[in-house]
Symmetry: C2
């Protein structure tokens, strides 16, 4: 299982202890190639210690871990006989996938739930902007957003809403979940029910706030919200570094999205990275090292035994492999699936399509194993 928590620099695995994040010198080891090489050494060593040199290994991963799983099979076919890459946006780099697709996909989730809901959220940003020009704007926003402390910046409210909508789209799971935050089944629908249920006269911003509260306070235990100065709730402290070096995923908001239109400036991004880490991002590196352009043509005649699974509710799916490439490099796409939903634990309430998807994955892996053992006997 290729995941953050088993990787250097994430979770408890700090190669330089408390100094691991100190500088580019130590952080230099935090990159995808090093991660893959670490896995190669680890798996080989494990197999040797367990006296199971000829046991087949299949790698699994979701999200960034899914990218690593896919890349691991491509770069280390002698160590992993196959890979299951769930919600792996390996095409979200460079100019392969349109830069607006991610936020367009988030918006589509909300639009599909309710057109009104989409329109309310889309209109809420202008109301927030308008408030920010008032003398008492910050006080009003603080009151509206039930902040524990008075806000220093309207941008905090904006980011707070933004995060709620993006992550809720990602985790628009068919059953109750606690991935980023505890949430009900199909939380996008629930958010839109809240928005659609509020009086017509209420402001769009207040409706957006009410919807976002579902994300931050589904358990109804919060009396007030900390919009500023909180610690990063997602534990991805290393991702900023990776984004500033190799994992450059330019994103924009189109006019059709429910977010304020925005463009991507490599120059500004690069300046920020220089300031924060003293490094310059390499926007073409991932596609140079791992490919991506014309992936169908390249992998049609190269490689085998890969599953790319994606749920179309997940905005990351737009940067994923959504079509079969060959007889053994296949895409499993579910319309109602969200961010690596197939890798969540089974529940009693799992819908049929999810049960079916997992069964398909198991059947394909069984075929890989069968083939492997057959080949092994022949040698």
């Amino acid at each position: 299982m290729l995941s953050y928590s088993s990787l250097k620099f994430y979770g408890d695995s700090m190669p330089f202890g408390n100094n691991s994040y100190k500088s580019a010198k130590t952080l230099g080891y935090l990159n995808s190639q090093q991660a893959l090489a670490d896995y190669a050494v680890l798996i080989r060593s494990l197999k040797q210690n367990l006296s199971s040199d000829s046991s087949p290994v299949v790698v699994f991963g979701g999200s960034y871990g899914g990218m690593l799983a896919a890349w691991f099979r491509l770069k280390y076919p002698h160590i992993a006989i196959g890979a299951v890459a769930s919600s792996a946006p390996i095409l979200q780099f460079d100019k392969i996938t349109p830069w607006s697709s991610f936020y367009d996909a988030v918006s589509q989730d909300f639009k599909d739930a309710s057109l009104n809901c989409y329109k309310v959220i889309k209109g809420s940003w202008a109301e927030l902007d308008a408030l920010s020009t008032h003398d008492d704007g910050l006080i009003e926003v603080s009151k509206l957003f039930r902040t524990c402390k008075a806000l220093h910046s309207v941008y905090s409210a904006r980011d707070w809403l933004w995060e709620a909508f993006v992550y809720t789209a990602m985790v628009n799971y068919p059953t109750e979940a606690n991935f980023m935050m505890p949430l009900p089944a199909y939380p996008v629908e629930e958010m839109c029910k809240i928005i659609d249920g509020l009086p017509k006269g209420a402001s769009k911003l207040s409706k957006a706030f009410a919807a976002a509260s579902l994300y931050y306070n589904y358990t109804q235990t919060e009396k007030c919200f900390n919009l500023e100065g909180g610690t990063d709730s997602h534990g991805l402290h290393g991702w900023d570094w990776q984004a500033c070096t190799e994992m450059v995923m330019p994103m924009t908001c189109s006019n059709e999205s429910m977010f304020p239109p925005s463009s991507f400036s490599y120059k500004e991004f690069s300046q920020d990275c220089k300031k924060q880490y003293g490094v310059k991002p390499r926007p073409h590196w991932i596609t140079t090292e791992f490919g991506g352009y014309r992936i169908e043509q390249v992998l049609k005649r190269f490689g085998s035994n890969m599953i790319f699974s994606n749920g179309m509710q997940d905005p990351w799916s737009r940067g994923g492999v959504l079509k079969n490439i060959s007889s053994s490099i296949v895409a499993l796409v579910t319309q109602k699936g969200a961010h690596h939903v197939d890798f969540r634990s089974e529940t009693k309430n799992d819908p049929d399509w999810l049960i079916m998807q997992r069964k398909q994955e198991v059947a394909i892996i069984e075929k890989w194993l069968e083939e492997y053992y057959k080949d092994l006997k022949q040698n």
Copy 2:
């Protein structure tokens, strides 16, 4: 064309100028993964600058360059549509190929030319050893070997002979050549003719010397030989570093070889590397990074478009891929071929088997290109 001369640290390409070889810190960049990544960046950049993004690239290489070509296709299939790896001993690592196979192959070349020749060389080492115990041994050896200056060590004579036999086997080409040294066609046969032509009463050592002189003095311009303190004539200054880090190729001499039997001690080798560069060799790294064990099973269902060409006269062939792995990963083996003879320039005297081999390679590459363009149109 993947070769030494186009690589960092070899030829004129010194990344840190005169300091490139100064320490492990600068030499750290001299490794095969870095070389492959350099090529990836270079090829991509060349194609972009030439506005030929969709032009197919085929990589070629011989010897170490052949290993790089094979590995490049495996690791960067999105950049090279195929690879021709000539005399690429990618299986000469770890315990994949028997450690004695290299010197056994050298010996086989001489045995095939003349059994007497093989026996004379095999017996010459003991005579040299016997001389080294004499009081005037060094003077006698210096005289016998026509050295320009008196020798400091008998080992110099041993190494001098050793090199002549090994390289002559490698370059046992069907036409006159000037790869390491100017040499006649089929130089192993010529060496053996010299040995077999000398009077029965002459010592084995003097015969071995006469044979080796063909290698060092085919043009008959040398009046005396410099056996000690010469500069490395092969220009592979970086190879020692690579051998002490990743390119660990253990070699031994079996009782059946024409060389004095010897074993390989990782401990001693490691101590030498520690002393010379302050580093410890990683004998399992290449097989971890690039595979090699059970290569047929792995590549039977993964990868495509590779030619492994080998000439069986070349002792490196024993660590090469000598059997077809799949319909598009093929081995071209010639019995009379030597070290990447297919990559030498055409000559009027090329034998039919060599002309045929080159034609086969061209035909296979043409098929790759045809397929590539067909696929390109379909997308």
